[in-house]
């Protein structure tokens, strides 16, 4: 009798041990924030404050795209949730809200955390905690180092790449014009300036004027650029400072050729800001003819199947926002996140999604005009852009699609692989 009981107990213990070991094997890696029916991400966004105009539309657009995917069953049956926290574009707030998201809300990862001065303050924390930090909404070169920051991935082109592509265009079309640069005094503006300096001779850049985000008067910078005799004004600015800069130029009677990084030129956003600041006296006409670059198809290109898809999702899930570059940005980044989850496979872990992006991220195709740079050592996003110009309040793209690397004097080459159309449902991965 007692012998039988012993056997039974030992048997139970054995089964339990095997189950525990098997369970341990199955859940190898960290899957905080993941259940069989959902995966939760968090993000820090400027919903209020100086960077809010335009940028506050980005994360809600991503949520709209997730809702579109969730309605089709999500990725591997998991619905994608995104908790949006307002950091007012204030680095101190960013630290607070990201600590809250990771430690309190138990998110799987941070997605599309917005801003260079803000996100730089949490990269070290996220990598120490081994939390995936996917597709930072900033082109700072500081996200690219996959060796030092294995959990952080950039998404939009590195600002130095943008600067090089804009610089090459200036070299080709405004070779004899003096150039002035108006830039945000952080890694965003400085990264862009590095790219411009890489392409243009030092003597051609006659003035480079920084601004601190948060100031309201940029007339000193613009009049200094005007006084230097620059005929081309390059902006590495967020939309609000593009608008303030153009208004200051207008007031000073200064009419240079504006060349702006893609970050600060969405015509709907800048036009709206110009209208607000000038109390309706000025609008999009102050940025008409501006040269810029873009790595996604222009929202004005209605025949592009990606724009058609995003417009459809926008009309269903996010119709209160204008359909502009910010909404397109949020949806395109959301598509990439869904692709990353698809690549990571059914057993979703934090380590797994990083490994999948390292190994296959460079082969992903989607709404982007150019490929991604993802590899184990390089976590930079899009490798290049196409030139464009503001015409009639929308950006018209022209010329070849250009790709390069941020390294000094690396060549700018043409990318010719045609853009693949979006799948009818879900996302497609290689």
């Amino acid at each position: 009798m007692s012998g039988k009981r012993t056997v039974r107990v030992v048997g139970c213990v054995c089964v339990a041990t095997i189950a525990l070991i098997a369970g341990g094997c199955g859940s190898k890696g960290n899957s905080t924030g993941v259940s069989s029916t959902s995966v939760t991400f968090g993000t820090h966004q400027p919903l209020t404050g100086p960077a809010a105009p335009g940028y506050s539309e980005i994360a809600p657009a991503s949520v709209a795209f997730f809702e579109y995917l969730n309605a089709q069953g999500g990725i591997y049956g998991r619905k994608i949730h995104l908790i949006i926290k307002d950091d007012v574009y204030n680095p101190t707030q960013t630290v607070n809200v990201v600590h809250g998201l990771v430690l309190n809300e138990k998110i799987f990862g941070i997605f599309e955390g917005l801003g260079t001065p803000t996100h730089t303050k949490v990269v070290s924390f996220l990598n120490t905690e081994k939390v995936p930090d996917l597709f930072v909404a900033s082109g700072c070169p500081c996200w690219d180092n996959g060796t030092a920051q294995p959990y952080t991935f950039g998404w939009q082109p590195n600002y130095t790449i943008e600067g090089k592509i804009l610089g090459q265009y200036i070299k080709q079309h405004f070779a004899s014009s003096k150039v002035g640069v108006f830039y945000q005094n952080d890694d965003f503006g400085k990264g862009g300036l590095t790219g411009i300096r890489d392409e243009l001779p030092a003597s051609q850049i006659v003035s480079a004027q920084p601004y601190e985000p948060g100031i309201t008067n940029v007339a000193p910078q613009i009049s200094s650029i005007k006084a230097s005799g620059a005929k081309v004004l390059v902006d590495f600015t967020v939309p609000i400072y593009t608008a303030l800069g153009q208004l200051a130029s207008f007031t000073l009677g200064y009419k240079p050729q504006l060349v702006s990084s893609s970050v600060g030129i969405d015509p709907t956003t800048v036009g709206g800001l110009l209208k607000t600041f000038s109390k309706g006296k000025a609008g999009t006409e102050l940025i008409e003819g501006a040269i810029t670059d873009g790595y996604l198809p222009s929202v004005g290109e209605v025949s592009n199947p990606w724009i058609a898809l995003f417009k459809k999702v926008h009309d269903t899930y996010d119709s209160s926002a204008p359909f502009d570059g910010n909404v397109e940005y949020g949806m395109a980044a959301a598509y990439t996140l869904a692709q990353a989850l698809q690549l990571a496979g059914k057993n979703l872990t934090r380590e797994g999604v990083v490994k999948a992006l390292n190994e296959k991220g460079a082969q992903l195709t989607g709404p982007g005009l150019v490929p991604y740079r993802y590899s184990t050592s390089d976590h930079g996003g899009y490798a290049g852009a196409q030139m464009g110009q503001v015409k009639g309040g929308v950006i018209t793209q022209f010329g070849p699609r250009l790709i390069t690397t941020p390294e000094a004097s690396s060549p700018i080459t043409t990318y010719t692989t045609p853009q693949a159309a979006p799948p009818t449902t879900g996302v497609s991965v290689p």
Partner: protein, 375 residues
Amino acid sequence: MRLPSRIRPPRLTLARSLGFVLLAAVVLALVSEALSSYNDLQLANGAYYFAVLAGLTLLTGLSGQISLGHGALMAVGAYTVALLIGNEHWPVLPALIAAVLTSAVVGVLVGAAATRLRGPYLAGVTLAFAVGLPALAGKYPSTFGGANGLVINPPTSPSWLGQSFPLERWEAWIACAGALVVLFAIYNLVHSAVGRSLQAVRDDEIAASLCGLRVARLQTLAFVVSAACAGLAGGLLTLVLQLAAPGAFTLGLSLALLTGVVLGGLGSILGAIWGAALLVLLPIWSNDIAHAFSFSTNVTNNLPLAIYGLVLILAMLLWPSGLQGALGLLGLRVSTSLKNRASTRYPVGGAGQERAAARRGGASPPQGREEEEVR
């Protein structure tokens, strides 16, 4: 007439207050063990808020000076720690001491100006200080990092605590240790001859100087002590956030600090604890409330600030003497009604006493109450 001795906290001697602080340290350590990482972080936030509020309550409640510039004094401490740890690789303790000394020196300068000014003029000068000083970071970006700020590495916990000791708990310990040092110093200062002299100066400067007190020197001293507390708080903030950036030290912070001491209960160290808890919890609560409703995003985004403002207005209407004042009044009422129930011999006098107490406590801040009692 004196307040009934029952509701006055027993006066602690130096040794006894030291014992109390050590006990509080043990309790805080146990509490931090029980909390999650996130709540440890909130505890750390509360601790540095307490450090600055305790100093501010000494300045405003005890010496009667107003300061709208304590956010800037925190910035002095924060940048001192960030520069010393980030660039010079100093250990935590010396860096914090340096933060206290630097902000005390700045406090001497501001305090010297402050003694020559009264009321709105003093508020104006300290306001200008709050607006101007953090802007220096943008003026000298190569030293102070501009709007980007200065980043330091997180403080490493000593090896005897073990490899897996959570960083957030270590940060909470450092911040609580700083808060307890402030508690010990301010408590004993308040209950010393200097504290009584400060009260005398607050109540009547002319009478105090006739008694031989050096009014200007005492007021400057109060400013320096509170500046040192603010500097320590700023240094602790840098250690907790691993960041010193001008965005942390906006005018909003200076105003929030003053709000904290007033809401907590002006002139009371317990009030500073309530104030610190409110400064940490109120933004979290208002944010949760805002997201509990499904308003349009524009409303939801701006609602937390509106709720915050509403709470402040209501609190000032309902408890003009702050949370600590309201609790004191509650205690008085409870003790009076207990007394009434115990002895029915003087029912009329008891009720009248309660009404009078309610009138006194409800309508005027604590120092007003003392004045009325003297009369």
